[in-house]
Amino acid sequence: MNWIAIGDISDIPLRGARCVKTPIGKIAVFRTAENEVFAIEDHCPHKGGPLSQGIVHGTAVTCPLHSWVISLETGKALGADEGAVRTIPVRNDNGALYIALENLALAAAE
């Protein structure tokens, strides 16, 4: 894995998210109430809403545009909606956060 440093866990508010700009689009990095960190594409499968701007609850986020609820663990829409976003591997070394972008880089290089 090619781990890229993106900052410290304290940069993200509890029950909040920040976004990371990458060559192949924005990635939303979430920190839950329990201090878990997840990263998914910042692009709702419904109409492309910025998931990093949504309300974080449990291990899910509600999209700010039309209130789809997306699981941070699987990237899948919860409830009656169907769709998924890509999840991004995150490493948490005592608060230092890294994401792995191989798949995306490959996708971009194609």
């Binding site: 890229i4 976004c19 701007q53 309300i55 509600t62 995306l104």
Partner: protein, 820 residues
């Protein structure tokens, strides 16, 4: 009915008993009497049983009113509020009040109730020593509770314990002093009294039994209680709840026959043929009563006699006792003393905190004490009243109705098995048959309707579960008991319950709400969190720290998110008025940030669309330099006050509508509300500002300002309702602010004013805002207080660096990094 001049009926006292008597009388003999009531209390008839929930904060005064002012008007009753009768002249057949009003009567009803018993000890008159009898007492206790200091309640009976629980819920450190060895000894046996004491102590209330009060300590104000054994219990508030005495002073002076109470026959007639008495002041068959069921029975009898039915007679029956303290269930009825020829069946479950005892004589139940599980109270009482022979089911009797006849029944089946004359509502004496026939006869489908038509569950409410079971039994699938829509799937509670409990339990953070109200999820969801955040902001403006992560993105970044993830920015233009300097600043921002679209909104503002999130602080900085603050076009809060040019320019204008609009907006900006609030002020009835479809609107007229509210022009279209006409701008502002605060305190999150108003009732809102100056002032003051914390421009805060992280990416990954 033949025309005849109405007879004059005068009633002294306006409590629950005469209120019920009049209801019955108006039904039996409408128009027969001209009714005049003298009420020493300055208010209408309210439910005294519910004073304890008011004290604990689970209800407020409005919710316990039995007869609103409208009822008195509808029935043509003259109600003298705050008039105490000081003399009855039986020869002239007149009564005279302390304010000098004299009324003559054909029939007089004395319903003066009771007076609390004051223990005759030194210091009893000190400031801070009060009783627990009416709403004034509750208000005095609430005032004292604000100090959060120590309180002593003397009396461990029903009333004393309810007072103690209420004061404790309000944050006081409470000690109950009780002269007997166990609590509520008149209603409970020692075993149940012990369990009750444990439960009361578990809530943090101290209990001292066998406590004889020697004196009240203090110079001017109460400082504590000294007991016989020398102990001193410090207190800044002392509540005496040791009992009541029939209030017979007036009747005695008038020369009526008096014993403990005013002596009446089974028809409620006193020793004077023109005078009746009922309620707690009356003594019938040698007994005086303090619980509501027999008082309502007196009311029924008195009404019958007034209507000319001479045969009605009061019959004594045992009344079950229940304690209205949330979380403590107890029930007792009948005679439960030990004695010859008596047997008992006892069930104890220490872990579950359950104690049940049945006292039997000749194989019939004569008394019941239930603690912890009171579900079978009604059934045991039914067996007691009917003197049912129980030997057949003796072995399983104590387990309750569900265990009779083989396999356990579910609760609905248990209710189904009750006979038609089984009493469901003890307070109002309503039996099963009456409820069922009223539901079917009148086509009732909601609990409120059943309460309105039958009175069942309309007093203390402890039979609500039974009534609901009857409804589902009668209506089948047509009754949906979960008519209260939960806030979201994280809780069973509806918005109203959550709002009420936040206040009642003093919950001041979102985690506290979720813990205390047993949320089913660990940190809520996108539906409940913004709602809870609003309720807490509204209820505790000075103490609550806004939870940023529980706000919708628009309220977090103070701009409106658009479909492509960019934002729109709307600066505030007070009353829709601008000038060249402001317009120039906007034009410069448009050029500097390449704003793709500039648009004029329906609320007379300019909207800049398509701004990148990262640019927001810089855009605000430039707008701020020109004097702009946030237009809050994104907020569940006050958005715009739209105006026309009014009397300053318009040849039809009657008042300075622009000036008033700006004044309202400058006063109210920044306030958070349950849903967005849009206002408008029109200078004349031509209504160019379209004020009659706004949440709140003003139509200026020559004689003043007509205030409108509850309009809508969105998903629904609805003209406004008139709140009322006021003469001055100052009054207009005060009324609008009070109305908005009432809405802020009562509405459900995301509920617009027109929906809230429909739910609460327009008349009720008018009554509180237009007619009740004290109420209005209270709302106004609370709004002003909350504005101290709300009127901070969010844009300039963020320009100075607040929430910086929100407007910057956490990191930017370059292509070479990603490809490595």
């Amino acid at each position: 009915m033949a025309e005849r001049t109405p007879e004059k009926l005068v009633i002294i006292g306006n409590g629950m008993a005469p209120g019920r008597m009049l209801e019955e009388l108006f039904e039996k003999a409408p128009g027969r009497y001209d009714v005049t009531i003298f009420n020493a209390e300055p208010r209408v008839n309210y439910d005294r049983i519910m004073l304890s929930p008011v004290l604990s904060g689970e209800k407020d005064y409005e919710q316990i009113i039995i007869h609103g002012d409208g009822w008195y008007i509808k029935h043509g009753i003259t109600l003298y509020k705050g008039h105490k009768i000081i003399a009855i002249d039986r020869n002239a057949k007149t009564v005279t009040s302390d304010h000098g009003v004299t009324e003559s009567y054909d029939k007089l009803v004395i319903a003066t109730g009771s007076v609390p018993f004051i223990i005759p000890v030194p210091g009893k008159d000190l400031r801070g020593v009060i009783t627990y009898r009416d709403l004034d007492d509750v208000q005095a206790m609430l005032l004292a509770a604000q100090s959060r200091e120590k309180a002593v309640v003397i009396g461990g009976g029903l009333l004393g314990l309810e007072a103690a629980a209420g004061l404790q819920a309000r944050g006081m450190d409470v000690t109950v002093l009780h002269v007997m060895p166990t609590l509520m000894e008149r209603q409970l046996d020692p075993a149940a009294g012990y369990l009750l004491q444990k439960a009361v102590e578990a809530r943090g209330i101290k209990v001292i039994t066998k406590a004889n009060t020697k004196r009240v300590v203090g110079e001017e104000k109460v400082e504590g209680i000294e007991l016989d054994d020398g102990r001193i219990i410090p207190a800044t508030l002392v509540v005496m709840a040791v009992g009541i005495r029939p209030n017979v002073g007036l009747a005695k002076e008038a020369g009526l026959a008096i014993n403990r109470g005013i002596v009446v026959d089974a028809g409620m007639q006193t020793s004077d043929g023109h005078i009746m008495a009922l309620g707690e002041c009356a003594e019938v068959g040698g007994m005086v009563y303090g619980l509501v069921a027999p008082l309502y029975e007196m009311a029924r009898v008195a009404a019958s006699h007034l209507a000319g039915e001479r045969s009605a007679a009061f019959v004594h029956s045992d009344t079950p006792t229940k304690l209205k303290v949330t979380g403590i269930n107890l029930y007792s009825v009948g005679d439960f003393a030990d004695g010859d020829g008596r047997e008992e069946i006892v069930l104890r479950d220490a872990t579950a905190g359950i104690y049940k005892r049945l006292v039997l004589k000749d194989n019939r139940i004569i008394g019941t004490v239930l603690y912890g599980d009171t579900a079978d109270g009604a059934w045991f009482n039914d067996l007691l009243k009917h003197g049912t022979e129980i030997s057949e089911m003796r072995d399983t009797l104590i387990f309750g109705q569900a265990y009779q006849g083989g396999s356990p029944l579910d609760p609905t089946a248990a209710v189904a098995a009750l006979p038609d004359d089984a009493e469901i509502c003890g307070c109002n004496g309503v039996c099963k048959g009456k409820i069922v026939s009223t539901i079917t006869g009148k086509g009732l489908t909601s609990l409120d309707e059943v309460r309105a038509h039958t009175k069942a569950s309309a007093s203390c409410g402890s039979c609500t579960g039974l009534v609901e079971q009857l409804m589902s039994l009668t209506l089948g699938d047509n009754y949906n008991p979960a008519a209260v829509q939960p806030m979201c799937s994280c809780t069973e509670l509806g918005h109203d319950d959550v709002r009420r409990l936040i206040k009642a339990k003093g919950l001041k953070t979102i985690p506290a709400v979720m813990q205390e109200l047993e949320w089913k999820t660990s940190c809520g969801c996108a539906k409940c969190r913004p709602a809870l955040n609003y309720y807490l902001v509204c209820d505790w403006p000075d103490e609550y720290a806004d939870d940023y992560q529980s706000r919708f993105i628009n309220e977090r970044v103070h701009a409106n998110i658009q479909k492509d993830g960019t934002y729109s920015v709307v600066p505030r233009m007070w009353g829709g008025v601008t000038n060249s300097k402001e317009l120039r600043a906007i034009a410069d921002v448009v050029d500097k940030f390449n704003v793709p679209l500039v648009k004029v909104t329906g609320g007379q503002r300019i909207d800049l669309l398509g701004i990148e999130k990262e640019d927001l602080p810089a855009v605000w900085a430039d707008l701020g330099k020109a004097g702009f603050v946030s237009g809050q076009a994104y907020a569940k809060g006050l958005r715009t006050v739209k105006t026309c040019v009014g009397s300053e320019w318009c040849r039809f204008g009657t008042q300075d509508s622009t000036g008033l609009g700006i004044r309202i907006e400058k006063f109210m900006w920044g306030s958070w509300t349950p849903a967005k609030v849009k206002m408008a002020v029109s200078g004349c009835p031509r209504n160019c500002a379209e004020a009659t479809c706004k949440d709140v609107g003003v139509i200026c007229v020559d004689s003043g300002f007509e205030i409108h509210f509850a309009g809508a022009a969105g998903l629904d279209i609805k003209g406004t309702e008139v709140l009322g006409l006021v003469k001055t701008e100052d009054e207009a502002l005060e009324h609008i602010v009070a109305l908005t605060q009432m809405y802020r305190e009562q509405a459900r999150y995301l509920e617009r004013i027109y929906k809230w108003a429909k739910r609460i009732g327009l008349d009720e809102i008018r009554r509180q805002i237009m007619d009740d100056a004290e109420k209005r002032k209270g709302y106004y003051d609370r709004f002003v207080f909350s504005q101290k914390f709300a009127q901070v421009d969010p844009w300039s805060e963020r320009v100075s660096g607040k929430d910086k992280h929100e407007f910057r990416p956490m990191a930017t990954v370059e292509f070479n990094q990603a490809a490595e």
